[in-house]
């Protein structure tokens, strides 16, 4: 017998959500990883500022930074960060068409076309920036 039960009075059972619910299912793990890329985004933004400041101060401080950047541990870490930001980019661009409804001549542009447009923009930005930094 359930001591808490009284006739005609519901005794619903509620399951608790486990604190690590996001580890329970592949889709949720992917979700939480995607969300956590925000940490990398902030980190890279800070690093960029440090880089700019170093360049501004002159070649010596720039070389010092490059020295730090090329230490094996740091490189390994940054390669991992790079993969993380790529994950951010891919998940972000994949979801972008969901919210966008673009109409041309009264017809809704198919989601695939919008998706392709986004990837095209990404490639274009990447080439433009790389070109500016590396030179022709």
């Amino acid at each position: 017998m359930n001591p808490d039960y009284r006739p005609y009075h519901p005794k619903w059972f509620r399951r608790r959500v486990p604190i690590f619910w996001w580890l329970r299912q592949a889709a949720y793990v992917k979700f939480i990883s995607r969300e956590l890329t925000c940490l990398l985004v902030a980190y890279v933004a800070i690093l960029l500022l440090v880089f700019v400041a170093a360049v501004d101060r002159g070649e010596a401080s720039y070389l010092a930074l490059v020295g730090w950047l090329s230490q094996p541990m740091v490189v390994a870490f940054h390669v991992a960060v790079l993969l993380g930001t790529l994950f951010h980019t891919v998940t972000w661009l994949n979801l972008a068409p969901m919210a966008l409804v673009v109409k041309v001549g009264g017809r809704r542009v198919p989601a695939r076309a919008i998706l392709l447009g986004h990837y095209f923009a990404w490639v274009a930005c990447t080439i433009a920036v790389a070109w500016a930094l590396v030179g022709p």
């Binding site: 001591p3 039960y5 005794k11 619903w12 059972f13 399951r15 996001w22 979700f31 919210a99 017809r107």
Partner: protein, 247 residues
């Protein structure tokens, strides 16, 4: 192909137990059988006291949603064969208090449906004698997808946010609001905005996206929510930048 499969069914009998348990049944498998046919076999042949909901057995009434092997599905539209060799675990939908066995309490969901004013709102109604409102097939296509929801609540069960924040108005209700917002006959978008632009409205959703993955009718509630976020934001900036604009 094996002839039988073990179904592990969640049992909860509130008069007798404080916690749910699992009970195993050996159920024959036939090529045409859905999970629901398996449950019906249990109820008719093995244990008449098993409780669950079903009605249409054709995927349209929305009553037979359960968690099968951890995934929310319509049991009348999921072949047993696809889950062999088993065991097949059947539980009530996550996110709803369990009344008994496989039956959840959906009062909260019903309240949320009503909260978004899911009906045509107009300043002036056209008299019926004057005939129908004209609506072109393109205008119909605008909202059609969101009108296909069968209220099966699989999306609520898949959405972790709903479980964590029970106030979250949730995927199907928001899709339903969009269904009316996008209907050319409706003028109620502003009224619905008041409910939806709360934190418990659209902003609670962090785009986990599982709601759309499990939806059996391709309603794409995640898309509906994202679209709503965009229009709410555009609307917001318009009213800030152009406060004189008539609403």
């Amino acid at each position: 192909m094996s002839d039988t499969v073990t179904m592990e069914v969640l049992r909860y009998r509130p008069e007798e137990e404080t916690e749910p348990t699992y009970e195993s049944f050996e159920v024959p498998v036939q090529p045409e059988w859905m999970i629901l046919d398996g449950l019906n076999h249990i109820k008719d042949q093995l244990d008449g006291s098993l409780s669950y909901r079903w009605a249409c057995r054709m995927g349209v009434c929305g009553s037979c949603g359960m968690l099968v092997n951890g995934r929310p599905v319509l049991t009348c539209a999921t072949y047993m064969e696809s889950l062999l060799p088993g065991p097949i675990r059947v539980e009530p939908l996550r996110g709803f208090p369990v009344i008994r066995d496989l039956v959840g309490d959906i009062t909260d969901f019903m309240g949320k449906l009503a909260a978004v004013k899911p009906y045509i709102v107009r300043e002036e109604e056209k008299p019926v004698e004057e005939g129908e409102y004209l609506q072109t097939p393109e205008e119909l296509a605008e909202y059609k997808q969101y009108s296909m929801c069968i209220n099966c609540m699989l999306c609520y069960s898949a959405c972790p946010i709903y479980r964590i924040e029970p106030d979250f108005i949730g995927p199907a209700a928001i899709a339903l609001a969009q269904r009316y917002n996008l209907d050319s006959r409706d003028e109620g978008a502003q009224e619905r905005m008041d409910v939806l632009s709360q934190h418990a409205g659209i902003w609670g959703c962090t785009l986990v996206g599982e709601c759309s993955e499990v939806c059996p009718k391709d309603v794409d509630p995640a898309g509906a929510i994202q679209r709503y976020k965009v229009s709410a934001t555009v609307d917001f900036f318009k009213s800030v930048l152009m406060p004189w604009r008539k609403e």
